[in-house]
């Protein structure tokens, strides 16, 4: 594969790499006969990004430059750090770089970025290829009931009100309004945090269709990254989502040259109403489950099963670790488990009555393992921990 990127597009490519770097530590590149795909997945596998550059993004595009017989297209995985190295400052890139050549030789172990800059300077980066596999996530973006098209500015202005320490955001989508609020972890002391809630009217958006009113929670870090990317390119952002537990897909495209998909895993918000159902523990599992709805396919075959399950039954992961029947026999405390205020103020009780197998956060995981060394050791709790680990070990 060999292609040339003209100066102005190098800036776009640079911004793309920087946006992807906010998602994952590894960059997957795949060349197809008519396009190049860049993908990344975060370490927790809760966020995935895919950006497709069509043939006309490039000034020269030869997918089969080295004329191999293999028609599958070349794939490679490189470290994100190396990629960033070649695109140090995307904002100034268009002023300095005249042309970028990307070469991928099936025989070689290096991916070559060659930047032809002003003053006749040529910078060449030989980036080591770590792997020759591709990775792809399975998700549906069409046929989803909820679709919003928004200018990224509205959303980023709304997010500007959140604290930097907030790491997840809850989106409550109804036909009347879209409410954004920071997700409050169940075991954080409520006296120490700020709750932020912003309501946006449907008229603020370019298009607003909510077929199935729902509430989803996803990570803020990646959301901020993709918004910054969209804003820099001044393109509208499409948001496609279904319901809790199914991935939310963010799409940015300029029609002809490139298309970006950002997929974020969603989880259920913490609220008393939901917690009062039998599956109260679901809300608690957020941190762990978040890892799963989006999975990599080819890279890890066993994940395929997870994904297909995920598609077959609605958020099967929640059901999978669903607490056995005896759940209902436990004290009332459990049923108000989702009510964060109660728990946060009462760490002692939390230890005694909390559901052992479904930690919300690492802090809680620690407390769960601590139980193993206590007198009130419950063998069932061990069982559940194992269950949880199985689902997470991929």
């Amino acid at each position: 594969m060999k292609c040339h990127v003209p100066g102005p597009n190098v800036k776009v490519l640079g911004r793309t790499i920087h946006a992807l770097a906010r998602f994952g530590d590894e960059l997957y590149l795949e060349s197809l006969p008519d396009s190049i795909l860049l993908r990344t997945l975060n370490a927790a596998e809760s966020a995935y990004a895919m950006i497709k550059f069509n043939k006309n993004f490039f000034s020269h595009f030869n997918y089969n430059f080295y004329s191999t017989e293999d028609n599958e297209g070349l794939k490679c995985k490189i470290s994100m750090k190396s990629a960033l190295n070649a695109f140090k400052s995307p904002t100034h890139m268009d002023k300095q770089v005249e042309n970028l050549e990307i070469k991928l030789d099936p025989e070689s172990s290096k991916l070559i970025f060659q930047l032809k800059c002003k003053h006749g300077i040529v910078k060449t980066y030989y980036v080591s290829i770590l792997d020759c596999k591709a990775m792809q996530a399975v998700y549906t973006k069409d046929l989803v009931p909820n679709r919003i098209i928004s200018s990224p500015r509205i959303l980023s202005e709304a997010l500007g009100n959140f604290q930097i320490s907030d790491d997840q955001v809850t989106l409550e989508a109804t036909n009347q309004s879209l409410i954004l609020r920071n997700y409050v972890d169940a075991n954080i002391d409520l006296t120490k945090i700020i709750r932020t809630q912003i309501s946006l009217k449907p008229s603020e958006f370019d298009s607003y269709t909510i077929g199935d009113e729902t509430t989803i929670t996803f990570t803020l870090k990646e959301f901020r990254a993709l918004l910054a990317f969209t804003e820099a390119l001044n393109l509208p952002l499409q948001l496609h989502f279904e319901t809790t537990g199914r991935p939310a897909v963010f799409i940015v495209h300029n029609g002809t040259t490139f298309e970006a998909h950002f997929v974020l895993a969603t989880s259920k918000p913490d609220s008393a109403t939901q917690a009062s159902t039998q599956n109260s523990s679901r809300t608690d599992k957020k941190r762990k489950e978040v890892n799963n709805p989006v999975g990599s396919a080819k890279k890890k075959p066993h994940l395929d099963i997870d994904i297909s399950k995920c598609l077959d039954e609605d958020s099967h992961l929640f059901n999978y670790i669903d607490i056995p029947e005896e759940m209902d026999l436990r004290p009332i405390k459990v049923t108000i488990d989702g009510n964060s205020g109660d728990k946060a103020n009462d760490p002692e009780e939390n230890m005694n009555f909390d559901i052992p197998g479904s930690p919300t956060s690492r802090i809680k995981i620690k407390s769960v393992f601590k139980r193993c060394f206590e007198n009130t050791f419950d063998p069932r709790s061990i069982e559940r921990i194992v269950l949880a680990e199985n689902s997470d070990s991929d």
Partner: protein, 221 residues
């Protein structure tokens, strides 16, 4: 001296060691700092920069190059007996290459070098590309090539190809000085010693200079 601002900037740029050797000569002032006998940096202020300049005796003193000026401040700097300055220049070694570059463009290249690298390889050759800077990262290699036709290269002379390696942290020491300078002369001698002479132009058309000697890394062979 009219304004200490430019002098302050120059001294700041070479301030990577606590102590400097101060040498007053009839032509001007020279301050020298050394880092581990590998890098030697000097700031040279010609006498015409001063409105009044008298040198009574040729003594070396040592002092700390701290904030040097203030409008009406008497600044007393305690002096120590000077250590001898390392003579890095070898009279026998001939000069193999001399480049005159625009300081800002050269700084731009150095800024882009990977931070995690320790070693920088400088290749100079009479053939195209005339200058190439190669850095080796953890797994990656990157290479910057500059032909002599480039705008940033004001003069280039090199008779035969040379390849020299330097510690990148040493090279980075010159970046502060590059930022305030307008022009840089890069000389390589046959023993590998890299000499960079930087010219700083003041608003009043007078000039000050700084000079860096950098010792090369020798190959294992």
């Amino acid at each position: 001296m009219d304004s200490g601002k430019a002098l302050y900037g120059l001294l700041k740029a070479i301030q990577f060691q606590e102590c400097a050797v101060f040498c007053a000569m009839s032509e001007g002032l020279k301050l020298t700092v050394e880092e581990g006998k590998c890098v030697q940096a000097s700031a040279y202020v010609p006498a015409d920069n001063f409105t009044e300049y008298h040198v009574r005796e040729d003594v070396d003193v040592m002092f700390k190059p701290q904030s040097v000026h203030n409008v009406m401040t008497d600044c007393e700097i305690s002096t120590q007996t000077a250590d001898s300055v390392l003579e890095l220049r070898d009279e026998d070694a001939s000069e193999v290459a001399k480049l005159v570059l625009k300081a800002s463009a050269f700084l731009g290249l150095l800024v882009d070098l990977e931070r995690s690298c320790d070693v920088m390889e400088l290749n100079l050759s009479p053939d195209h590309p005339n200058v190439s800077i190669v850095t080796y990262g953890m797994q990656d290699r990157s290479c910057i090539e500059v032909p002599k036709s480039s705008d940033m290269m004001q003069s280039f002379s090199c008779e035969q190809a040379v390849s020299l390696k330097y510690q990148l942290p040493h090279i980075r020491l010159i970046m502060k000085a590059l930022a305030i300078s307008s022009k840089v002369v890069l000389r390589c001698s046959s023993n590998g010693l890299l000499l960079l002479q930087l010219k700083l132009e003041k608003d009043d058309q007078r000039q000050m200079f700084s000079e860096f000697h950098i010792v090369p890394l020798l190959d294992d062979y």
